[in-house]
Amino acid sequence: MEIVVCIKRVPATDTAIKIAADGKSIETQGVTFELNAYDEFALEQALRIKEQLNAGSVTVVTVGPKEAQKQLQDALARGADKAVLLLTNEWVHDSWACSHALAAHINKSKYDLLLCGRQAMDADNNQLPSRLAALLGFGCVTEVSKLSLANGVFTAERDIEGAREVIECKTPAVISCNKGLNEPRYANLKGIMAAKKKPYEESPAALPTSAMAIESLTLPPARKAGRILGTGAAAVPALIAALRNEVKVL
């Protein structure tokens, strides 16, 4: 099975985000970047499928800046066979444009399966996998937290409101991966050394003009200090009054 894993380089989750001077992007000075956590599940799943079938290949693709080479190398070190960097210096936050750039590349070869993280933790759009499936004419299952493969058919499980949905799907397909799907492996030294010799490709990303523009970015307002209204059952009426009249949530 020929598998593509779409990955993204995003600010580390413990970053204290600051808004840049333009008011439309984040300050990247001093920020460490890492592989989007959901993409780690996608990569791990791809490697497991290849190991299960003992055949096929895993290609990792990203649309991103030159620095994303590091995340691609990391994916190669964990066991991917080939890496592709579709270069852009823009911050890719528009899933529509990004899916076009990815589809343009993916269409050049024949792939059976595309694995993505459920969403990139920077823009948090949660759109790319479905858009990509639509552009490629592939089937699509999103936010999968359990996946198995038998006789060429995938059985995917996803959590929906109050229940779990089980879906069977054939290739070609796009599957987006959720937390809990697997436990991603770490790169070992042998893998890191081997990664240097694996095929690596770089070309400009075929990004169409973005369909949307960010007008402004603001940080959420600082949380106000809490207030203790009293203790025990005696405080309940005051609490209800405050929730009803001040916070207006009741």
Binding site: D14, D74, Y186, A187, N188, I192, M193
Partner: protein, 391 residues
Amino acid sequence: MARRIDTYLQDLVAEEKFAFYEAVREFSDAEVAPHLLDWERKHLLVPDDCLAKMSELGLFGLPITTEYGGQGGDHTDLCLLGLALGYHSQSVAITPGAAISLGAKPLQLCGTDAQKKAHLPDLAAGKRMFVFGLSEPGRGSDAANPEVTAIKRGGNWVINGEKCWSTNARWASHVVVHALTNPTGPNGKRSTCFIVPMNAPGVFYQEMKGKKVWEQSSTGSIVFENVEVPADAILGAENDGFKVMVTTLNGGRLFIASLALASLAFALDKTRIYAEERVQFDNKPIGRFQRVQDVIVDMDIALERGLTWLMHCCKRFEAGTLSREQAAKVKVDCSRTASDLVQLAMEACGGVSCFDEFGLIRHHNDLFVTRVGEGSNFALKDLIVRPLRQP
């Protein structure tokens, strides 16, 4: 949070070595750090599933060549492992660290081809572990003339006596025993090393209880009662056992230095960040006090200096040009500087340093081992002074 140590290492080592350091650091952040308090409060040794994950990551086979199923790393990689794991816990770091630098290393350096074939693949896979049996209840710094004896009987050797302080004894498959074989020979030529299976009849292991440092690391006492081993259990040459031990310790001392620097790196980050968060007098951070800054600055200087020196020594070790004095000096300096500074760091942070969850007390306690283990600093100065007394 960006760690100071990362900025220095990125500059000092090749890209793929830094990538390896980062992979172990991620492992340590995700699989060790969140559980440490629990392990400590329950007085557990490194749990089996953590050991299994470390062997899955190939850590136990780090410097073993790929031909034997290892990772093909070198001594720089080993010290990077020490830095990455030791940042959270020296106890966890010493477990693969000793298994490699004291366990597999003598076999790699002095083993026959047959011995290597018999053991290295399983050592690399984490299925076997060797421990280093040099120290004894009556022979610590004065280790050249062991009280453990080995006497020839027919074609075999019979071993009697007791080893102690054996790191990793709990998980060991074999112990490399340094035993007296030629009591009347010249000093340094009286002993021989033997590879002894831990399950051989007459071998008894007991964990040394009550140790308040390196709490998750196994430290065992191993007794030998008429333990018979064949002649091919000899590691290195007969009556040349002390050389095997001493050569091994050169590399081991670099690893101990990496643990000391790992603790220093943790303390530096902890202190510099806490000093900006904690406010006293006029609601301003204690990081504005110059006496607090002095401690932080001194830690930063010591860290960059120590790392630079250690990475240099690793290269020399690989090239076979590291002298015993150099290995001893970097171990002595990194361990004493880090432990002195971490104590000051605790004072700079104040009462909060008493708590296990703040982390500094763990590193403070563990740093003691780096001063005494693999040669007490006091005794090592005897070695360091030798060339200085030559005209």
